[in-house]
Symmetry: C2
DNA sequence: CCTTGTGAATGCGTTCACAGCA
DNA sequence: TGCTGTGAACGCATTCACAAGG
């Protein structure tokens, strides 16, 4: 229908499936924890449990990266940390700007998880002149007027939008025009972007609504629940976290 | 079912696929916006564009709910708003507690998107005695000691964890023991929960890492990009938002 | 013997394309 | 005629189960 014809073979990310990419950060986090406890090697079973997935999935995921394990033994923790970091592009430094320094923007600025990986908050930007100059998380807030200059001066390619919904598209357009090609959007709006720009979104209210759906369902299940009661209340931790995150990169 | 055979058919949520459930809030948001502009009906094509998906997917999604459209015309906005709200369980009121009132917890407490749907922040809880009594978003912060009582007094079944990673599991255990059966986890940890409890997680750093992966990939694509340049820089908005959110409910 | 790595099987979600109906 | 609703085709992700290999 003329509209969205993908002229590139698709999101074919050089072989690594999107679902796998979405789990690599999970593995990396688990491996980092092991590394800090000086654990030298780990089996797919153990690592999978720590990451909240099942071991078959983990092994399949790793098989896309290469053969980094040793049969009969497991995976070398340090080596895997390095390989996954490299694959994710975390061996380089990513300057990031956060636009919209309200409660959420401030929370993001203070969030330690960024710096610990390859991310660095290069600048905070807000439209409120009353905020400019004030420091949040030790970083001075700058005014929206200077957005383009800030992006360019810092070589920023990743932007975080934490503005109200009404401002998001406009901010997005300016970020993109200034050279940003990846956007993490916290505003509850659908952003439209040109081809080649990736958008990921996080919407708190959507997550709650999905929980509400399942919660409601549970309420209507009393009948079955009463009748079955299969002896054990499994504390079962295996395969906890498909995380609910799949591709979703939206190549434009 | 004598054996360990999954005693329930699976995550079979009464027919509605998880991927569809995850998109319903998206449709609802778009429909609400149309409703506010007093638009009476909308076609699958228009609504899909507003929600950032393609129209075939939207129609398929709606077909799981029932036949709510009129051929040759489209969907009645108000009617669909009601049907989706009901399906998601938003026609009832969901009291929610937020545990961990740091920057993020405060941002969540202030987030308007909750109240606007069926959610109500019933209580804010933090372990810091210095915070108790202080009001955030007009709601007084209470101490962790009272967690169980708060949950029970308010009939809370949905909890939000916005604590540091180290405290998350412990908080989770107490929430679950007190009767919470759905948890939205912002702490960067894998939570283990008993059967029947749903966990969804939101991890800011993971989202950034996924963006970094694609950003890195783009850098290595100069070659192809130069050669192709397909005439148009499509502003194309269609099918923007698979959102990156899929099932992931983890029934335990 | 133990654990990885992977073809094959299965299941789920998306897309296509058109029949059905206002 | 126009748009919905849906069976069928397709493609991607997960799981299974076992061969390969330390």
């Amino acid at each position: 229908m003329a509209t969205g014809r993908t002229h590139r073979p698709a999101t074919r990310s050089r072989g690594i499936p999107e679902a796998t990419v979405a789990r690599l950060p999970l593995y990396l986090r688990a491996l980092t924890a092991l590394s800090e406890r000086s654990v030298p090697t780990v089996s797919s079973e153990e690592l999978a449990a720590a990451a909240g997935v099942n071991s078959a999935k983990l092994r399949k995921d790793f098989s896309y990266l290469g053969s980094y394990g040793t049969r009969g033994v497991g995976y070398d923790v340090e080596y895997l940390v390095y390989q996954i970091s490299r694959e994710l592009g975390l061996t380089q430094d990513w300057p990031v700007v956060i636009v919209g320094i309200g409660n959420l923007g401030a929370a993001l600025a203070n969030y330690g998880g960024f710096a610990s990986r390859g991310f660095r908050v290069a600048a905070l930007i807000d439209a409120d002149p009353g905020l400019t100059g004030r420091a949040v998380a030790g970083i001075p807030v700058q005014h929206t007027d200077d957005l383009e200059r800030i992006i360019q001066d810092n070589g920023v390619s990743i932007g975080v939008i934490a503005t109200p919904a009404g401002a998001a598209q406009q901010v997005c357009d300016r970020l993109v025009a200034a050279g940003v090609t990846s956007i993490l959007n916290f505003a509850p709006t659908v952003l439209s972007v040109p081809e080649g720009v990736d958008v990921r979104k996080v919407d708190l209210s959507i997550e709650l609504q999905i929980l509400a759906f399942h919660e409601q369902r549970k309420a209507g299940e009393e009948a079955a629940a009463e009748a079955v009661a299969p002896a054990a209340t499994r504390k079962d931790s295996a395969d906890q976290g498909p995380d609910g995150d799949v591709p979703a990169v939206m190549p434009a």
